[in-house]
Assembly symmetry: none
DNA sequence: GCCATTCGTCTAGAATACTAAACGCCTTCA
DNA sequence: TGAAGGCGTTTAGTATTCTAGACGAATGGC
């Protein structure tokens, strides 16, 4: 009955080449996940076992998918990193997209008086949209207030920013910051005589 | 050794009034979570057991935290809803308000060689945590790699940043940026001779 | 070469999870 | 009133996980 998840293990230890529980888990199986994560942290089975308070044999068996660990023991093992079970199961090991971006690679979205340069080429599948923004003197996102789902925040790097949020207007200078619910109508304007540069982030991505 | 997580169960079934494994799990324990979720779905232990392909006794024992289910059987149980283990372990919510922050209001979190200045006083209930960070020459988040839930990104404003993510090392200069899954082990270091300033954002907040 | 370490794996036996089948309590219906 | 069925709980026994220790292979002195 136990069936498809567990494997016979006191007998032939993997007759055929199969490793993964067939229909089962998400992307990589538990064992492979654990092994890769452990290696990323540069730990041996024994080191991890000591931190976690289990034996190295347990780590070995889990990594080979010879056993399906209990929640309790898996938690103990992951505490050795530390990492929660939920994170462990959702961590994306493989298609480690891109991490580093040179300044010239930031994709220009707007252009003209307002420059929005996006971190990363594509926001799909991402939780944050970060941009390097530059407003020329007088530049303005428009009288028509913006509003969309999510939350956004930013820090002024240089120049002066006039920010309107939900009817409230404020002038921010270098080092000042903001954080608001994007559903509140908002507007960005550069009332100064030099460029205004800010770094902003919003979630979820709106482009 | 097995120790703190499991409870004696063939004997006195909870001498004192305690229910939760003391130091252990996150918010609600596994058993309570399962029970509440099951009731939200309007299922009896037997119904869920039948859908899941386990016995009602198993559901009962899990809900009482008398056993710590194996990953395999917990998965089978949750398939009865259906719901993933990761989702199961992460259920929750909250509120908030305040928009503008002067530079001096950004709350200093670290101090010393590394300065983290947080946008907003409190990140609870927020989706993004944005910080103005400054690393003095040689400053380092440490050999022991960081790793926590979520995604993070940033842009270098000035100076040079040496960033290590999942074993890959890279030097970033003003205008360069990064974006990665925070659960990958990572490290920030200023290898230059002047302060390195960056603006970062991560979600969800980790402080 | 040889010893000392460290690595991942494997095995016997102890500890734990899980099943099948009861139990007691309750409600419903005849 | 009693039979029938649903509920969550408990128990005895089986299946699985987990520990302690040993194994062979690889590595680094010396």
């Amino acid at each position: 009955m136990a069936g498809d998840f567990r494997r016979a293990h006191r007998s032939a230890p993997a007759a055929e080449g199969k490793e993964k529980p067939e229909g089962g888990e998400a992307s990589p199986d538990i064992g492979t996940r654990l092994r890769e994560l452990r290696k990323m942290h540069g730990l041996s089975q024994r080191e991890l076992a000591k931190r976690a308070g289990v034996t190295n044999g347990t780590i070995s068996l889990i990594e080979q998918n010879r056993i399906s660990p209990s929640i309790g023991s898996l938690k103990k093992v992951l505490d050795g990193f530390p990492m929660s079970i939920a994170d462990f199961l959702t961590l994306d090991l493989k298609p480690r997209s891109r991490v580093f971006y040179e300044a010239k690679e930031l994709r220009e979205i707007a252009g003209g008086d307002v420059s929005f340069r996006l971190v990363g080429r594509d926001t799909r599948g991402r939780a944050i949209q970060m941009m390097h923004e530059r407003y020329t003197p007088g530049a303005d996102t428009g009288e028509e207030m913006l509003s969309h789902a999510g939350e956004e925040c930013g820090i002024v790097i240089s120049g002066v920013l006039e920010l309107t949020v939900g009817g409230e207007v404020r002038r921010l200078v270098a080092g000042d910051a903001y954080y608001f619910d994007s559903r509140l109508p908002h507007r960005f304007r550069n009332p100064g005589t030099i460029d205004c540069v800010i770094v902003s982030a919003c979630t979820p991505p709106s482009f």
